[in-house]
């Protein structure tokens, strides 16, 4: 099997998500590499939703345009996606649907479901059809059902699976390799990020529901009991960030997650984090704006905003999440850096990254460490007064948790303050405090990570950031395979901006920024910080993620 792409489509509420997830897991458990994307509307029932499940015998990094099979839960699915079906692709759909197509494999799904007495098993029937069609191991697929259902429900679903399996002749005879050990995981960006957050020892998290950040918080909420942490749904995003700051002050590792609109409401709190030197991690999962925009779709429209959000000047870390594995690692790193330098760290994700699902080697929890840089309580005797904002040689004031040392109190202050943390209006203290805060920015800039370089040094260099990593990587590999010497720099850390590798790689090349926004926000940032200008831009802002094909086709036409 080289590279198969299956689309599952239907109306909201028809079970597209469940079916796609089952199919993904089934392929995954066969040792194949899976990459799945979601395209949902902002509604609960009706409309058109679809998922694309791509499978191959090598790691995958992005979605593909061409389809090898369509599993259609309604007619609209066929109408909307038929043109992308490969020449000998197949359409699997229920016999009850009004679809006529040479590629059609019409299945008695609904009827069988009714016969089995439970309309909800149509999904398992379809799973059986797909499993059998692709020559999967039935025991493995059954095992996946058993992880999701139990008792009666499981029984009827297994029955459905068996029925479908037997019914299907094998349409895609796939020589699947030996079933490997379970040495790979299948996760969304959200899940990998959530695992990173848990690994980082986040103990408190406050939020207000907002797509596409909601899945992260649901992930954490679902595990709060087992993890022994608190995940609190606040009355609004302002409460959420101020709760997180109160929690961080008291000693928790605290997280907020939201999307653009909620982040807008949080930026006053962000400024408070900056002024009060309170560590905080914010996951900003972008979606197309402005205002409500496209709630369930993707964009990279908030980079420029994140860089300077909040009034006044203060240091911050802004890191874009490139892949699920990157999200896992960056989450843990963000909590460490936020505490090391006592500042807010913003993790920039987006709906594409949050929702796509990918097969990966297991995440390495052992490689992570927790580095809190808290002041040892015994270091503060009751005689010497603890100074929360002390001007020490290190450039970072010692951080003590309140309530931990008798006789010592911990002052947090939103106004400009003295070393103790009391309000001041003195010009010289102000200058010293600004210098201290902004000095941390300079320290941080010495440990930011350079962008990852992909491909080959050649006449064309793409620059990108965050989740475009996957599609761009596939595009660069494909173009390299065609003999085009192209490369890419994909930024994770964006502020402070690491400039070394860009300055080394850019000279003499045609620079192309590939961004999921209208104004080329990375290109602007590069000009601002390095005066290096991009020559061309490939920008997309219709809410749908890039595919490698998009980049390849454009490159062939425009820059190669």
């Amino acid at each position: 099997m080289s590279d198969y792409n299956v689309l599952v489509g239907g109306a909201a509420g028809q079970g597209v998500e469940t079916l796609a997830a089952l199919i993904e897991k089934a392929f995954h458990r066969h040792g194949l590499w899976v990459f799945g994307v979601r395209d949902y509307m902002s509604r609960i029932r009706g409309g058109h939703n679809f998922a694309q499940v791509r499978v191959a015998d090598r790691p995958l990094h992005g979605p593909r345009r061409r389809l090898d099979a369509i599993v259609a839960l309604n007619e609209e699915t066929v109408r909307l996606h038929r043109d992308r079906l490969a020449e000998n692709g197949k359409i699997l759909s229920d016999a009850g649907l009004a679809v006529t197509d040479p590629a059609l494999l019409s299945l008695p799904l609904e009827r069988t479901a009714r016969e089995l007495g439970d309309p909800r098993v149509a999904g398992s029937l379809a799973l059986g059809v797909v499993g059998a069609s692709f020559g999967l191991d039935r025991a493995i697929v059954e095992g996946i059902l058993a992880e999701r259902f139990a008792g009666e429900t499981l029984a009827v679903n297994v029955k459905a699976l068996h029925g479908a399996w037997e019914w299907v002749t094998r349409h895609f005879p796939l020589p699947l390799g030996p079933r490997p050990e379970r040495d790979r995981i299948l996760v969304t960006g959200t899940e990998a990020l959530g695992l990173g957050v848990l690994a980082a020892g986040c103990t408190f998290s406050a939020w207000y529901p907002m797509t596409p950040a909601t899945p992260l918080m649901t992930f954490l909420s679902d595990r709060q009991g087992e993890a022994g942490i608190v995940v609190e749904q606040a009355e609004d995003e302002i409460a959420a960030i101020n709760m997180a700051l109160g929690a961080a002050y008291a000693g928790a590792r605290a997280l907020c997650a939201t999307s653009g609109g909620g982040f807008s409401l949080m930026v006053e709190g962000l400024s408070l984090a900056g002024m009060t030197e309170t560590p905080l991690v914010i996951a900003l999962m972008q979606r197309p704006g402005p205002a409500t925009g496209f709630p369930t779709r993707t964009e990279q429209g908030d980079l420029a905003f994140a860089l300077t959000a909040g009034h006044g000047e203060f240091p911050r870390l802004v890191t874009a999440l490139r892949t699920p594995a990157d999200a896992f690692r960056q989450a843990a790193r963000a909590f460490n850096l936020a505490e090391k330098y006592q500042l807010p760290a913003i993790l920039l994700g987006d709906q594409f990254l949050a929702d796509y699902v990918q097969s990966l080697p297991p995440l390495d929890f052992g490689s992570l460490s927790i580095d809190r840089q808290l002041l040892d309580p015994v270091a503060v005797g009751p005689d010497g007064e603890y100074l929360r904002y002390g001007l020490t040689g290190s450039g970072v004031s010692p951080r003590l948790l309140p309530g931990k040392v008798p006789g010592q109190v911990v002052m947090l202050c939103s106004d400009e303050h003295t070393p103790r943390g009391n309000i001041t209006e003195a010009a010289d203290v102000r200058t010293a405090m600004v210098n201290k805060r902004m000095g941390k920015q300079a320290m941080l800039s010495r440990e930011v990570e350079e962008p990852e370089f992909l491909g080959e040094d050649g006449p064309v260099l793409f620059v990108a950031w965050g989740s475009t990593y996957g599609p761009l990587r596939e595009a660069v590999e494909a173009l390299n395979g065609e003999g085009h010497r192209v490369g890419a720099l994909v930024f994770g850390d964006l502020w402070p901006l690491p400039t070394g590798r860009l300055q080394e790689k850019a000279p003499g090349k045609l620079l192309v920024n590939v961004e999921q926004n209208h104004s080329g926000q990375l290109a602007r940032l590069l000009r601002q910080e390095t005066r290096i200008a991009c020559d061309r831009s490939l920008l997309k802002y219709d809410g749908r993620p890039f595919t490698a094909d998009d980049i390849i086709v454009w490159s062939r036409e425009e820059v190669l």
Partner: protein, 286 residues
């Protein structure tokens, strides 16, 4: 130290002479003293305003955050470290204007904190605009022609949402205020004390004297467990006298009581953090 002086700090107070905030501060120190608290055991959260400067003038832990946003910070700090006695002491503009939504939802959340609102009817620090509790029709800098909105009734609101401890204090009645503060801090759950605090500079109507002529301590005839009676009391105004004291009181489970998944007594602040402990959460993804 065994006197309230253990809470003293050397810090010039940016309050006007004659301001009710001085009394409020002194009462708070005395209440903490009577409760036998040590400075490091107490956290005072405030927003921005004249009232909100209070935690700078007392030796306890201090979270002096944003205007209107002290309640969420206070609740979270308490959740993370239940050993802290957490108090919010801040202005009426802060609590009921900018922070109105947090007020509403802090009641619902019922974290064990005490909320002391310095109710002076004005935005003192920004020079005298009406706060939400100012009377209709009063002209202020910013409300030329007079306030056009009905005054907010914080006690009625709290009772309407079944807050478990709802009281009114007055800086002109010190001993009474100290005991109210003590009771509020002692109460398990969210406790509101709206404190009549004259602002001699910007509120020329509701002066110390004006209040003295009107306040009326609630006596034994009032049953604070009776919600309807409490509601009726909370509507009492100038005419029938302004009741002070505990208007409504009810025991109910706190936020921590409802956090069934955290082992009793386990404080988040003391949790040992270890990345490998989270590895188990990856299992379902293989």
């Amino acid at each position: 130290m065994t006197s309230p002086r253990r809470f003293d700090v050397q810090e010039e107070r940016a309050w006007c002479p004659g301001c009710g905030n001085y009394v409020l501060l002194a009462c708070l120190k005395e209440a903490l003293h009577r409760l036998d608290k040590q400075p490091h055991e107490v956290l005072i959260c405030s927003g921005i305003g004249q009232a909100a400067k209070l935690p700078h003038y007392i030796k306890v832990n201090c979270f002096n955050g944003l205007h209107g946003r002290s309640l969420p910070a206070a609740c979270a700090a308490k959740i993370v470290n239940p050993a802290l006695a957490v108090i919010v002491s801040t202005g009426d503009g802060d609590s009921y204007g900018e922070g109105g939504n947090h007020f509403l939802h802090a009641i619902r959340r019922n974290v064990d904190i005490a909320h002391f609102v310095h109710n002076n009817g004005v935005y003192g620090l920004t020079k005298g605009q009406a706060s939400p509790t100012m009377d209709l029709g009063r002209s202020t800098p910013g409300q030329a022609g007079g306030v056009r909105s009905d005054p907010l009734n914080p006690l009625a609101l709290a009772i309407s949402q079944d807050a478990g401890f709802v009281a009114r204090g007055f800086t002109g009645e010190r001993e009474h205020l100290i005991e109210l503060m003590k009771a509020a801090i002692d109460y398990r759950g969210y406790a509101l004390v709206d404190i009549l605090q004259p602002c001699p500079v910007y509120n020329k109507v509701n002066t110390l004297q004006w209040y003295k002529e009107r306040v009326r301590p609630l006596g034994g005839e009032h049953d604070p467990a009776d919600r309807l009676a409490a509601f009726a009391q909370s509507l009492e105004g100038d005419d029938g006298g302004i009741p002070i004291g505990v208007i409504y009181r009810k025991d109910k489970p706190t936020f921590a009581d409802r956090l069934s998944h955290l082992a009793a007594g386990a404080a988040l602040v003391d949790k040992a953090l270890d990345p490998r402990a989270a590895r188990v959460f990856m299992d379902p993804f293989f």
